[in-house]
């Protein structure tokens, strides 16, 4: 109870409030720049936290994470360029809404869904950290493999009506994911002798190439007035009727984000894609998905913002950093002589509960800063198209260069842009490719680790309880999607 009161007292601490606002602002700036991931934005601030008081330092870092995960959705909606990996699912309907002149609505939905998601995640973090930590502990390599398969099972829902095309695109994504060092032996694969490919191809490079560069290649051939959207720069928050409609996809996103968040390594990208397909599956208007559905924005945005809080569950309770961003936060703890884990709650409760209070302020800061900056952002993308294309490409090239400080990456993004252009001509869906790319490493490395553990016995995937449940769930979801697709096709033929 004392600790809870301590958390509440932080809500009025000037330094905590300042740290939360500064962190969110910096995070939104970093997240909105393609190539600056949440972890990079956090890492850049890490040295500055050395001289700060522990609670303020950790609130600052955690707020950057909150801001960056939200910031990624701004360019995803406005210019079809996901600022972060987890914003790539928001591109689908967010950018379609912007093209229809509903950028203000899409940004408003994204902001509110992000806020609800962040607050829900915080509630889960405060109330269920200890019990959810047991879920993280139950995940063996076999369970991780099955979780990857569950992620891949949503491909059918992202294939735009042709499962075969979706399968081909997913295989392409997996093929790209296998480039680089082998996860078990370290042998080079498909690097063509290039040192730049030893570390593999970063998913964000593929996403920026597929979405942003391809879009610019298409738009350059269109008339100046095409796809201009509306000239309105007013941010529109969802009204009561819309809020009621968005409740279900936001709840779906919240549940999926919680599960994926507490699982180390799963991350917001998979959560966002799964939330998107599940929201489509349970929607009363599934036909609107992909054409600018508000629900298609709400579900992934809710999911990836829930992850900003639930990803801290394994870190705080077990000391396991489940993602790069959590690892940077772990660095913040260690700098201040704190070791996250079961003892943290006894040794430094004021820091833990201070962090909870700071995260609450960070979510409110996200709302307030969003309300201020989104209209200018919309004004910027309503500039004349020739200049807009030039500036988007300049931003993309700068952001891509910043990832590894390598021009090789810029060339790679151009190649992916050509691939995306070809895929668009052939009507091959790009989302299964992105999902295959994101999950490829996870699926292969855990498949092989499981077989190493079992001595080559494949039954490990069904004898492990969590793995068996996840595989069963994948089978049910795939069968349901296929059945629904076949039924719809028969209906349209009739």
């Amino acid at each position: 109870m004392d600790s809870f009161l301590l958390a509440l007292s932080n809500l009025s601490s000037g330094w905590v409030i300042l740290s939360a606002f500064a962190g969110v602002l910096w995070g939104i700036f970093g997240g909105a720049l393609p190539g600056i991931s949440p972890s990079i934005a956090m890492a850049l601030l890490l040295p500055f936290t050395v001289g700060m008081e522990a609670t303020n330092a950790l609130v600052l870092l955690a707020s950057v994470y909150v801001g960056a995960e939200y910031g990624g959705s701004i360019p995803a909606i406005l210019i079809r360029t996901p600022g972060t990996n987890s914003a790539s699912a928001t591109v689908i309907d967010g950018n379609e809404m912007a093209k229809r002149g509903q950028a203000g609505e899409a940004l408003g939905i994204s902001l509110m869904s992000g806020l609800y998601g962040g607050l829900f995640g915080l509630l889960v973090l405060v109330l269920c950290t200890e019990s959810l930590a047991q879920v993280a502990l139950a995940f063996t390599p076999a369970a991780y493999f099955s979780l990857g398969i569950l992620g891949l099972s949503v491909i059918a829902g992202l294939s735009g009506g042709s499962l075969l095309r979706g399968l081909i695109a997913a295989c392409m994504g997996l093929m790209i994911a296998f480039i680089g060092s082998d996860p078990v032996s370290g042998v080079q694969r498909f690097t063509l002798g290039s040192e730049d490919l030893l570390d593999g191809v970063k998913p964000i490079l593929v996403m920026v190439g597929l979405f942003a560069v391809t879009e610019m290649l298409v738009q350059i051939g269109e008339p100046p007035w095409a796809r201009g959207g509306s000239s309105s720069t007013r941010l529109k928050l969802p009204n009561w009727a819309m809020s009621k409609r968005l409740f279900k996809p936001q709840a779906i996103g919240a549940v999926i984000g919680t599960v994926e968040g507490v699982t180390p390594g799963a991350g917001g990208t998979v959560a966002a894609f799964m939330a998107y397909t599940e929201a489509k599956r349970w929607s009363k208007h599934p036909e609107e998905f992909g054409k600018g559905s508000p629900e298609g924005v709400a579900a992934p945005e809710s999911a990836n913002n829930v992850v900003t809080a639930t990803a801290l569950v394994p870190l705080l309770s077990l000391g396991i950093p489940g993602s790069n961003s959590a690892a940077i936060l772990l660095g913040g703890f260690l700098i201040h002589g704190l070791q996250p884990g079961p003892m943290l709650f006894q040794k430094a409760p004021e820091v833990v509960y201070g962090l909870y209070g700071g995260l609450f302020i960070a979510n409110i800061a996200m709302l307030l800063i969003g309300l201020v900056i989104l209209s200018p952002c919309m004004w910027l993308v309503n500039r004349p198209k020739p200049y807009l294309i030039a500036f988007i490409l300049a931003l993309v090239m700068s952001g891509v260069y910043a990832i590894h400080q390598s021009m090789f990456d810029c060339g790679l993004v151009l190649l992916v842009g050509i691939l995306g252009y070809g895929m668009r001509l052939l009507k091959l869906p790009v989302l299964p490719l992105v999902l295959g790319m994101v999950l490829g490493y996870m699926v292969e490395s855990n498949y092989r680790r499981s077989l190493l553990i079992s001595g080559g016995d494949h039954s490990i995937f069904v004898t492990d309880t969590v793995s068996a449940i996840l595989l069963g769930l994948s089978a049910i979801l795939s069968a349901y999607t296929l059945w629904k697709e076949i039924a719809e096709r028969r209906k349209s033929v009739k």
Binding site: G221, A226, P386, L425, L426
Partner: protein, 164 residues
């Protein structure tokens, strides 16, 4: 392009890509540390899966009854370029030129020239605005990346040219 032709082309390209991938996977030498699946095991399996899916798509397109030609949505919009693919190729050339000149002229100068060139290519004709764009973009990006984010953008050959 009609739907059938797209399927046929996708199938052919898919088969070609997966064949090359399977061949490349067969060239990977197994390590002493390799497990039962092997370094090339999973990539080869995915290669065969894509080969099968592409073959199936190709055969499906051949077996399809002659449908009414469905005109692609990507037809040129009125007022747009008559040759959108050529226009895209031109943009790609500009992008590739940018990637090539950065190591020589440095990021700040190259990005300024790049922005002006692309805006001009996309239809901007106001010389003053183009000049301002070229002059402002480089320093703004330099301030954002080099100064605020401490990510150093390439300086090109300038230090050598001015004897630094």
């Amino acid at each position: 392009m009609i739907e059938q032709h797209k399927d046929r082309l996708t199938g052919c390209l898919g088969m070609a890509v997966s064949s090359v991938y399977i061949y490349q996977a067969s060239l990977i030498e197994d390590s002493l540390l390799a497990d039962a699946v092997g370094v090339a095991g999973v990539p080869t399996a995915i290669g065969y899966l894509m080969l099968a899916a592409s073959l199936f798509l190709f055969l499906k397109s051949l077996l399809k009854t002659k449908q009414k030609a469905e005109v692609s949505e990507e037809e040129t919009e009125a007022g747009g370029s008559k040759h959108p693919h050529l226009k895209a190729l031109g943009l790609l050339t500009l992008l590739a030129t940018f990637v090539a000149i950065v190591p020589v002229l440095g990021f700040v100068v190259s990005i300024g020239l790049f922005v002006a060139a692309i805006a001009y290519y996309a239809g901007a004709r106001d010389a003053k605005t183009l000049l301002w764009c070229a002059l402002i973009t480089g320093p703004v990006l330099w301030l954002s990346f080099d100064f605020a984010l401490e990510i150093h953008l390439p300086t090109g050959m300038w230090p050598q040219w001015i004897g630094k």
